[in-house]
Amino acid sequence: MAPVVHIADIHKIYESGEVPVHAVRGVSLDIHKGEFVALMGASGSGKSTLMNLLGCLDRPTRGTYLLDGIDIDKLDRNELADLRNQKLGFVFQGFNLLARTTALENVELPMLYGRHRRHSSAEVRDRAMHCLDIVGLSDRSDHFPNQLSGGQQQRVAIARGLVNQPHVLLADEPTGNLDSRTSIEVMGVFQKLNEQGITIVMVTHELDIARFCKRNLILRDGVVVRDEPTHDRSIAEEALGLLHQAEAAAKLTHAPAA
């Protein structure tokens, strides 16, 4: 089967500053449906730049990118927007939810644009509710972002990323602003989604977070220096169980009821 993401010898050079910055220097990569990829690397190694390219938010300086067989290079600004709307879901480090807008309305947002705009408001509502349900937040649908914890906000953001049934979910340091426990919870959500067949590419610089993924890519100075399946993969449910026991032992929480 053809890969969902196919990039060949892709480059990105930022020309904006005094000196051009060659942030991505010839990356070639295929990602197939159902993969769960962790993109790792030191700060400044080009992870975000590569993610922006994958997310069609930015265009490569050189090289080809086929998303679902579509050549990005041939699309204009609006067609790229439609492509992002239909085929991609985004999760950001800083959540990027609209303030003073309920969780439900935040999740509805992608359906207000693109080809979904013709859906009835009841349909939009139902689909958003369904996605909030997937991330376990259907009981918080009418909460505003400032009434939610960081982990909950990120789950709302994930629900928003899912709502248009994307081919690939892209997440740039989704656990970067979260404590370790909530990070594992979020990774649990990702694993669950991945089991349902959703392709996920995420950036992280934490090794133990990367171990929840299936494939690890390491980037250094804009080049992929390692690409291998995850050894000794972590499962979020187990990790949470262990964490809970450890916390109980330290009297941080109640012991699990018998």
Binding site: N52, G55, L57, D58, R77, N78, A81, D82, R84, N85, Q86, F90, F92, N96, L98, A99, R100, T101, L109, P110, L112, Y113, G114, R117, S121, R160, N164
Partner: protein, 402 residues
């Protein structure tokens, strides 16, 4: 994006900064309020003038002595004393489609009656004068042709004269003295109000023009001829015929008369109030533009503040057009909201002006519609630049914006 959600999003954004939205709208509120008030005052003045023009009578043509350029209607009024009662008779006799003619002699005199005295207009007119002016009598009757022929000492008086000289009694049958001559009162005129030139038309004693010329003023010429044509479509033709006739009667001398139709008089009289309306409206319009600049200013601030939100929307699939519409609708809502409040305020202010100053004020539907439409247009015009700025943002730059 669906239209209803666009409106909802825009309203929410405006509510988020209620105070700021109010202050921004205030510029438009003041602008629209000023436009409505000023135009209402101007329209009121115009309507009053038009009512006064209508009170001249219907299908009226006036002949003034002296030749003067158009527009300077009062310039040489009575300055060339050459119009005679014979001119009036000739018009009645020879011009077609003339229903009635009344020569007019004007004067001011001290009038005595009842041990009281009053300085008033004493006008000499023909018997058809009341009919030409569409002026009803509340009691008694107008004098007749016979009275004119016999230089009768009879008169018809206006309401103001009644109030001044006969405050508590019926004036009919009583007499008043003009230049020591007794005139019997045979009719009382209905209230007519103020004239185009601000004089009290009810402050008048009307006597036969012959009596006026022979007994009171001792003049040989008349001040004016009032003519009633048989229909509005006849006015121009009758006017032309009158001019031809009078020119012919003057046998080659320079024309020393001016003929004006009611419409021409009206046009000259309403010109001032039209200019005033325009001027007041223009001044008020400037404040509306200033209000618009306020909107532009706030929308620019809003675009900067919400750069991240714009970035999110663009990343998630909004087209530039969607973002443009969103901010444009916001600006239009803001300005239309201001426009509607401004209209309400403007109507209120107009009522107050008319209540306290007694000025005639007329709030016209068209000025309200235009003001609201114009304020929405201000929103579009001044909202467009900020909205386009938002729409052209680069999604990554916008997302990275702190």
């Amino acid at each position: 994006m669906r239209f209803t959600s666009v409106i909802r999003v825009a309203l929410r954004a405006l509510r988020r900064n209620t105070m700021r939205s109010m202050l921004t709208a205030l510029g438009i509120i003041i602008g629209v309020g000023a436009v409505i008030t000023m135009v209402s005052i101007g329209n009121g003045a115009k309507a009053q003038v038009e009512a006064q023009v209508a009170s001249l009578g219907q299908n009226i043509i006036s002949v003034f002595p002296g030749s003067f350029s158009s527009g300077g209607m009062r310039g040489g009024y009575g300055s060339a004393p050459t119009l005679t009662p014979e001119d009036a008779d000739a018009i009645m006799a020879e011009v077609e489609d003339v229903d009635a003619v009344s020569p007019e002699v004007r004067d001011r005199n001290q009038v005595l009656a009842n041990g009281l005295n009053w300085n008033t207009n004493v006008n000499g007119e023909g018997p058809d004068y009341a009919m030409i002016r569409n002026w009803r009598l509340v009691s008694g009757a107008m004098f007749t042709d016979q009275d004119v022929k016999s230089l009768s000492k009879v008169c018809v008086i206006g309401k103001t004269v009644v109030d001044q000289l006969f405050p508590n009694e019926d004036p009919i049958g009583q007499s008043l003295r003009i230049r020591n001559l007794p005139f019997r009162i045979i009719g009382v005129l209905d209230v007519k109000g103020f004239s185009l030139f601000g004089s009290d038309q009810d402050d008048v004693v009307i006597i036969p023009y012959t009596s006026h010329m022979r007994r009171v003023s001792r003049r040989t010429s008349i001040s004016m001829i009032q003519i009633q044509a048989s229909g509005p479509e006849k006015l121009d033709k009758v006017k032309q015929d009158i001019e031809d006739l009078l020119t012919q009667r003057r046998k080659g001398r320079e024309p020393d008369f001016t003929v004006r139709t009611q419409e021409e008089i009206a046009a000259a009289a309403t010109q001032t109030s039209k200019t005033m309306t325009l001027l007041l409206g223009a001044i008020a319009g400037v404040s509306l533009v200033v209000g618009g600049i306020g909107i532009m200013n706030i929308m620019l601030v809003s675009v900067t503040e919400r750069t991240r939100e714009i970035g999110i929307r663009l990343a998630i699939g909004a087209h530039g057009r969607d973002v443009l519409t969103q901010f444009l609708i916001e600006a239009i809502l803001l300005s239309s909201f201001g426009g509607i409040i401004g209209v309400t305020l403007g109507i209120g202010a107009s009522e107050l002006v008319s209540y306290y100053n007694g000025w005639p004020v007329l709030v016209s539907t068209s000025s309200v519609v235009i003001a609201v439409a114009f304020s929405a247009a201000v929103g579009v015009f001044f909202g467009f630049y900020p909205a386009r700025k938002a729409a052209q943002l680069d999604p990554i730059d916008a997302l990275r914006y702190e």
